[in-house]
């Protein structure tokens, strides 16, 4: 039976390689991880962005460069206003009278940033004043930026779709080519066929998750926990592939199901990141939420075996319920 399972999986790999789909599906998350790795250092590096008129003295520019990104314009007058009116959030600055400054803003910049810029200039203009208090900045030594933390968890969970997509594509193709009915008369048990078809859905998320974490350069992760969390993600992947694959006979419904699928995934992940904690119970139905929760805790180095196993158990339970509810439909779809 094992050889038959591998043969079925091997057939899907060959078919995928022929169409380059497997290549796309496998490479897409790695490419995304590389792009993310390139973006991480620059996101949040410059909170305040300024364009300064040539009238501003070099000493001021030097000061502003310690607090944000400064673009020194070559032409004066209109050029500053043109730059401020561009679509990004850039404030303009020009000298106004002896030692004074004029901040030029468009009006649609991030709220509060104009006040911050004004205060920073107040600090410069009044630097000779004796202040009654001191300010210092310290930290607790946590170097993982939120973009890397969330980016890794989002990529790993989101990529579960790709494993499912391979199963789905192969099933719809088999249906279109009528090879599914041929399988029913072949000397392969239904169980071997399902496992053979599902194997890629498990293997692909595993490759992706480890690859993404390695590319992003995480240190000190508990890879045992990572493996258990990925197992739950792989289960979701298999669930997606089979449910959509067997329920859709034609290309439009398969394609639209894929689009619809993005709704719960994006809602669960974005909800987990952006919603205030009290709204999180709204997402408890979603296996993506629990998988994301495990991955997020793992990269934050605060996961415990208890939590990872609990979350995996919940995903397992949700997957089992959905499979049980749809088992007849899946069996019928495979005929």
């Amino acid at each position: 039976m094992f050889r038959k399972i591998l043969r079925i999986t091997g057939r899907d790999v060959r078919s995928g390689l022929r169409d380059n789909i497997i290549v796309y599906v496998i490479l897409a998350p790695f490419l995304s991880a590389l792009i993310l790795r390139g973006l991480i250092p620059s996101v949040g590096a410059n909170v305040l962005q300024m364009a300064v008129d040539p009238s501003v003295e070099p000493a001021v520019v030097e000061y502003l460069e310690t607090i944000g990104k400064v673009e020194v314009l070559e032409a004066d007058g209109e050029a500053l206003e043109r730059r401020v009116r561009a679509t990004d959030d850039v404030f303009g600055l020009r000298q106004a009278g002896e030692g004074g400054f004029e901040i030029v803003k468009e009006g649609n910049e991030q709220e509060g940033m104009d006040e911050i810029f004004e205060l920073v200039l107040d600090a410069y203009v009044n630097q000779d004043l004796e202040l009654p208090m001191d300010a210092l900045v310290s930290d607790i030594g946590w170097k993982l930026p939120p973009l890397k933390q969330f980016g890794a968890s989002v990529l790993v969970v989101f990529m579960s779709v790709f494993g499912g997509m391979v199963i789905l594509i192969n099933l719809v193709e088999e249906k279109q080519d009528n090879t599914l009915s041929a399988m029913n008369v072949a000397p392969v048990s239904r169980k071997a066929f399902v496992i053979g078809k599902g194997l890629l859905g498990v293997v692909i998320p595993v490759i992706h998750a480890f690859g993404v974490l390695l590319i992003l350069g995480f240190e000190g992760l508990n890879y045992g926990m990572v493996t258990v969390a990925i197992f739950s993600i792989a289960l979701i992947s298999v669930l997606i592939g089979f449910v959509i694959g067997v329920m859709n006979d034609n290309v439009i419904s398969a394609a639209s199901s894929m689009k619809v699928l993005f709704v719960p995934i994006l809602a669960s992940i974005m909800g987990a990141i952006f919603l205030a904690d009290k709204w999180n119970p709204l997402l408890y139905w979603s296996p993506f939420y629990w998988a994301f929760d495990s991955m997020n805790r793992i990269v934050l180095l605060e996961a415990t075996w208890g939590v990872v196993l609990r979350n995996t158990g919940i995903v397992l339970a949700i997957t089992a319920v959905v499979f049980a509810l749809l088992s007849r439909r899946i069996a019928r779809g495979l005929n």
């Binding site: 169409d19 380059n20 789909i21 796309y24 599906v25 897409a28 973006l39 620059s42 996101v43 949040g44 590096a45 410059n46 909170v47 305040l48 607090i67 944000g68 206003e81 679509t87 990004d88 959030d89 030692g99 004074g100 400054f101 004029e102 030029v104 803003k105 009006g107 649609n108 991030q110 709220e111 940033m113 205060l119 920073v120 107040d122 600090a123 203009v125 009044n126 004043l129 009654p132 208090m133 300010a135 210092l136 900045v137 310290s138 930290d139 607790i140 946590w142 939120p146 290309v251 439009i252 419904s253 394609a255 894929m258 689009k259 619809v260 809602a267 919603l275 205030a276 709204w279 709204l282």
Partner: protein, 347 residues
Amino acid sequence: MKFLTTFLKDLKLSFRTFYIYIEIALAVIFILVMLFVLPENFTTEHDIYTLIELEEPAYSSVRTLFDEGAEADRLIYLDSREAIENALLEDREAAGIHVFQSAEGRITYDFVLQGYESPKLVELLKQTFIGDLTTYMPDYEDQVSITTLGGAREKLSDRLTVLPVFLVLNSAFTGLFIVAAYIFMDKDEGTIKALTVTPAKISDYLLAKLGMMLVMGMLTSLLVTVAIARGSAHYGPLMIFMAAANLFGTAIGLLLTSFYDDLMKAMSSIFVVVFVLAFSTISYFMPSFSPLIIRMIPTYPMLVSIRELLYQQPNLTYVYATAGGLLAGAALIFMLALYRFKKTLTV
């Protein structure tokens, strides 16, 4: 005329397939979640864990300053430095303030951060605090003025801020996602072969698809905007803009479809393109990070334009310029798609 007949036939058929109902259902789900599940503003600002270790009367004056400040409701008072550090360990996006008397007897504000903040952000925080302090000094000189070029902008609610993302990724890109599926269905069912013996041209066929996607996109965008933005959207310019954006999305979908001979292959590249186009949402939500490369992705000006149309006084010149650019892009991409389809569609 032939285009009109093909378009009306396509439209009639599309109402018989269930896809259009899925689009409408998605729009309805979005509306229900936005209106009835989430409050108008659903993101929260992060807590600031605070410790004031000062003797009276300094304690009371600093405490009053904090309690009257703009961030008062984000402050959580703790009783030791260790408690602040532990709270920061629990919440990786929170920050802390520790006010104490230094060995020299001066009141010192220590801003406790996580450690991932950039050096420029740390300096910005420090200088903002110093600047704020100077404004209370008797010899303070106010030498900074602010000029606003456009009209002052009201703050949009979280609900309205998310709306452009739905309108772009769902309504404007209806065709980008699904036009391939319609064309391959026509191929499978032999409709395209039948078309070659009718007087209709390939351009009529493709324009009809463009029109069908336009109707679907406009329907969902109007539905969602009316439900969520109600009276605060500028409907005339918004519909013109959405039409241009939808034509642009469908034209890309047609061009991508023209390179493949089956849907699944086309879908993989469509997903990659959608993925790249969706990148601009990072800068849309995080304006301080908007490098040129992201601003060059067409979805960035789309998101900004739609947001403009939710303000009371939108910058219509920008919106129409973007719409013009999208239309020109759509025309060019459509011509390319047409050129490719003329060679491949009947094969």
